[in-house]
Amino acid sequence: MSVNAPLLVVEGLTVSFRSDAGLVRAVAGVSFAVEQREIVGVVGESGSGKSQTLLAIMGLIDSPNAVVSGSIRFMGQELVGLNRRALDAIRGRQIAMIFQDPMSALTPVHTIGNQIGEQVRAHEKVSARAARARAVQLLDAVGIANPDRVVDGYPHQLSGGMRQRAVIAMALSCNPALLVADEPTTALDVTVQAQILELIGRLRDQFGSAVILVTHDLGVVAQVTDRVMVMYGGRFVEEGRKGSVFRTPLHPYTWGLFGSIPPMDGERPARLAAIPGAPPSLSNLPKGCAFGPRCAFRHDACIVQPPLVGGNGHRAACALPETSRKFHIREVASIETPV
């Protein structure tokens, strides 16, 4: 593998669930790549398939009704269909995950130190004592005030923010090349969220990890990521470098997303540019563009699913002609993004 090859290449990943209402396609054939040391933000509507994408990468989709297909290549190795033993050699070691709810992510009956040590010892031949020392070090690195004490504490004795830090410490324990984080701050207060985001931002510098950060908060994306992927109805509808997406968003859903967030500075708009309607039901997706029923720019061409295209590494899946889109961007930008 060459030094500059992408760390992770996902192609045509599909996750579907058999259900009473028919086949639910939670992730409908997504393709993307993550470079080494890159922080990628994934934003999107609730239920758009963000978590399922991450879980598929981790091989953690274990519902008997789930079908995962497509290809996920990590450092050249195919992960889809990999056996448990080979998978266990990679996850926790090369790819680690942080979950949304720190309150339930740790086993209540084991100490923090044990749980971190368990991961270390699963991948490296070290003594229990060395694993514990490593746990103390890691807790210190993620900014826990008195790691010697916390290492012997149980999860319920820690606050939400400290637990999330403990989970992050665990994820970092084997210096993973890729860290996937599923809404790591959604359950936390803003002041604690700021601490955790700062920590994630520091990770790349200290540990050299690439990060996939799922959130539905564009503010979080603006703060820590390099690149953004916008998900809607199981697909990526827009993807590009952060600057490019924030300055010239190309997809009407992204426009709506920006418009929905009340600004923190400047003039307060009388009304927010909310997206009308409700998110689509995955078991009954509209024909063609999934955003169609809520889109103010829908036209005849939207009957067929538009491909994700564009230049300069900034792509969008929308049938609007480039010229008219440029026009709308200006319109949207003038209301929303204070320049």
Binding site: R85, F99, D101, L106, P108, V109, H110, E118, H156, M170
Partner: protein, 324 residues
């Protein structure tokens, strides 16, 4: 921690006091019936009645009666059965305790092991043929009446196949003290152990399977899998370990109830002179002193078991440690 424990101990004493009062009131102060007549048994002579009345202070106020009774139970320990004249109640109960403890203790080892094995295997192979087969077997175990199972076991081991190589080692019904002949003790109890444990293996296996399956859906299991530890470790170290909370609670309560006399059917079938059998006989003859003694004894074990469960709980579930 220590404060919490002594607090619990105090609570225990209080509860037992309450139970003794209630038991006493039910047996000795039920309005409309002359307790002395009941203590003295049926067809007792006039002198006996007077004697009893005096002995128990039944002509004095209730609190004094209660005090006298407790004194005779615990301090002078000379309370005698009125059915089986001259038989002292306390030695009868203390003599029965080792029998019951041997029976229940051995069976408990069996059912805990059996329950763990059945529960874990069924939980781990959920939805497969193995799981279904185990669940059907345990359902049968739960529904077979102990009495019937014991009788069948007796029939086979004591008469039908007793002379074959298979069961010729089985000694005649009854208890052999451990101190006297350990091997004989073991041989005499093996069949009763299995008989008593059958129901509980089924019960515990099913409960453990259910709680294991529930635990395996929890978020922390996903975290554990994400660490890259093997599935066996995920199952045992994270799933089973957290499921044990329900298991231990149930075990403590069942064990307490059985030692307290709940194993009576097994004791009767196998001719073991345990506490259950003692209670059973006392009830049949309305032997009030004996009933009172066994009830208080039973309550002691139930309360004790509760206490032990609480303490063990603190060890297996750290969340229980800082309740206060």
């Amino acid at each position: 921690m220590l404060a919490a424990m002594s607090f619990r101990l105090g609570q225990m004493v209080l509860v037992m006091f309450g139970i003794s009062v209630v038991a006493f009131l039910i047996f000795f102060a039920t309005p409309g019936a002359d307790p002395s007549a009941r203590i003295a048994g049926r067809n007792a002579s006039q002198e006996t009645l007077v004697q009893v009345r005096h002995d128990f202070g039944l002509d004095r106020p209730l609190p004094v009666q209660y005090g006298l009774m407790m004194n005779r139970l615990f301090v002078s320990r000379d309370l005698t059965s009125f059915v089986n004249r001259g038989q002292r109640v306390i030695p009868a109960v203390t003599g029965a305790i080792p029998v019951t403890l041997s029976l229940v203790g051995g069976a408990a080892v069996l059912w805990v092991l059996g329950g763990l094995i059945v529960g874990v295997i069924a939980g781990a192979t959920r939805g497969t043929f193995i799981d279904r087969a185990l669940m059907i077997l345990s359902l049968i175990g739960v529904s077979v009446p102990v009495f019937w199972l014991g009788e069948v076991a007796n029939l086979l081991t004591q008469s039908r196949w007793h002379d074959t190589w298979l069961f010729s080692w089985v000694p005649p019904l009854g208890y052999i003290p451990l101190t006297q002949d350990p091997w004989g003790w073991f041989k005499a109890l093996v069949i009763p152990w299995f008989t008593l444990a059958t129901l509980y293996v089924g019960l515990y296996g099913r409960v453990l399977r259910a709680s294991l399956i529930e635990m395996m859906q929890e978020d922390f299991i996903r975290t554990a899998r994400a660490k890259g530890i093997g599935e066996r470790r995920v199952l045992l170290h994270h799933g089973l370990r957290t499921s044990l909370v329900a298991f231990v609670t149930m075990f403590g309560l069942d064990f307490g109830a059985l030692v307290g006399g709940g194993a009576l059917l097994t004791e009767v079938v196998f001719g073991l002179q345990g506490v259950g059998k003692l209670t059973y006989e006392a009830l049949q003859t309305l032997d009030l002193p004996m009933i009172l003694a066994t009830v208080i004894y039973a309550s002691f074990f139930v309360v004790m078991a509760n206490f032990v469960v609480d303490v063990v709980f603190v060890f297996i579930d750290p969340r229980a440690r800082d309740v206060r």
